[in-house]
């Protein structure tokens, strides 16, 4: 294999979800984990502010949830696997998340994926 050696925390455009991120994001990720349950999703939909407060989200985390902004959610310690459950409540799939993070339209993002197979 010919490739350059990389260090985990020097990878481009990639947040490594490690202990530091895990500490920062714990309340947010714990809330997202609760969305495995249908009744929890319903509670959140009914009153998102109360639901976020119940899990102890910080003001920055609450703002990122309100904005439905993936880059911000990652910035405040969100883990993508748990965030996917929150995104599901908003009706957003992984292509929507990809489009949002790369600043493309969803169609352009899907085209970009397809072109990599050619």
């Amino acid at each position: 294999m010919t490739m350059d050696a990389h260090e985990l925390h020097e990878l481009p455009e990639t947040v490594i979800f490690d202990g530091r991120e895990a500490m920062k994001g714990y309340p947010l990720n714990k809330m997202c984990y609760s969305f495995n349950r249908a009744d929890a999703r319903e509670d959140f939909r009914r009153d998102p502010e109360a639901y976020m407060t119940r899990f102890g989200l910080t003001e920055k985390q609450k703002a990122a949830v309100r904005a439905r902004n993936v880059a911000q959610l990652i910035e405040v310690g969100g883990n993508i696997y748990y965030l996917a459950k929150l995104a599901g409540i908003f009706g957003l799939g992984v292509q929507d998340l990809g489009a949002q993070q790369t600043g493309m339209t969803v169609e352009a993002f899907k085209d970009m994926l397809k072109k990599q197979g050619e």
Partner: protein, 280 residues
């Protein structure tokens, strides 16, 4: 003694579960993916394995960040695929084989891998999608399964070489099990993809195809890659390739490739399917 007759790989993309439920096998988007499976079905029908040992990663169904085991081995009579929160149909129960699970747990701990044993364990799409793709409906004549969960969610994750060695220890433990069972090993997930950050949508065909070659004949060399280099080449979630290396470690005999399929994209991901035979 139990015999490991082969290894299979498959992506475990959740969208596949949804497409399977809708039977979109002939749909132009899905066809190049689903047509990678019938040759494996034919081989499975001929070989009739009794047990499937499945390496996967939990994506936040059974495990949360409160307790995150590096290696967790299912030791239950059954495993339930439950609601994951975003809409793919839950498939219900999968059959376990705790007698063999405990033989594996005993073996790997004696070999220096201090695993978490789980007598209750919900299994997510990482496990259920590949089992459904290879064996179909599990409500009738289900195959016995042993889910083995590897942490790919929170760093530090086990190194590629550690996963390969873990597979070797499992291979030895299975081969020492006093039964006549035929066992297949599944490496699930991958191939290259990244969901998060500005690099979302990253796919690396050249690297994937190299991995599909080397995993057959030179896994020891392939497993030397560092975690950081694997993320650089395969993407943050393409890291799941360590699950393939764990599978390959279990195959200690003469390994030959019987079938291969590779397709870009399914969802945000490059999908790779392999059928490897393991001769004693």
């Amino acid at each position: 003694m139990a015999r490991i007759i082969g290894g299979l790989t498959s992506s475990h993309i959740p969208a596949v579960g949804a497409a399977y439920a809708k039977k979109q096998f002939e749909d132009p988007y899905w066809k190049p993916f689903f047509e990678g499976y019938p040759p494996v079905h034919k081989w499975l029908a001929e070989q009739k394995p009794d047990v499937a040992v499945v390496f996967y990663n939990d994506h936040g169904l059974n495990f949360f960040l409160d307790k995150m085991p590096t290696f967790a081995i299912g030791a239950a009579f059954e495993y339930e695929n439950q609601d994951e929160g975003w809409g793919i149909p839950a498939l219900g129960k999968f059959r376990g084989y705790p007698e063999l699970s405990w033989r594996i747990i005993d073996g790997v701990v004696a070999d220096g891998f201090d695993v978490c044993s789980c007598q209750e364990m919900a299994v997510d799409h990482g496990f259920s999608v590949p089992v459904q793709l290879f064996w179909g409906d599990q409500t009738k004549n289900p195959i016995k399964t042993i889910p083995i969960c590897v942490n790919t969610v929170q760093h530090p994750v086990p190194t590629p070489m550690r996963c390969y060695r873990f597979g070797q220890a499992i291979g030895r433990a299975i081969s020492a099990f006093p039964g006549n069972e035929k066992v297949v090993i599944l490496g699930t997930g991958g191939m290259s993809h990244q969901l998060d950050g500005k690099r979302a949508g990253f796919i690396n065909k050249k690297f994937d195809l190299m991995c599909m070659e080397k995993i057959v004949d030179d896994p020891e060399e392939l497993a030397k890659i560092s975690t950081a280099d694997l993320i650089q080449e395969a993407g943050a979630q393409g890291l799941e390739f360590i699950l393939w290396l764990a599978m390959r470690g279990c195959l200690t005999g003469k390994v030959t490739r019987l079938h291969q399929n590779y397709h870009i994209p399914i969802s945000n991901t490059a999908a790779g399917t392999l059928l490897l035979a393991n001769a004693a």
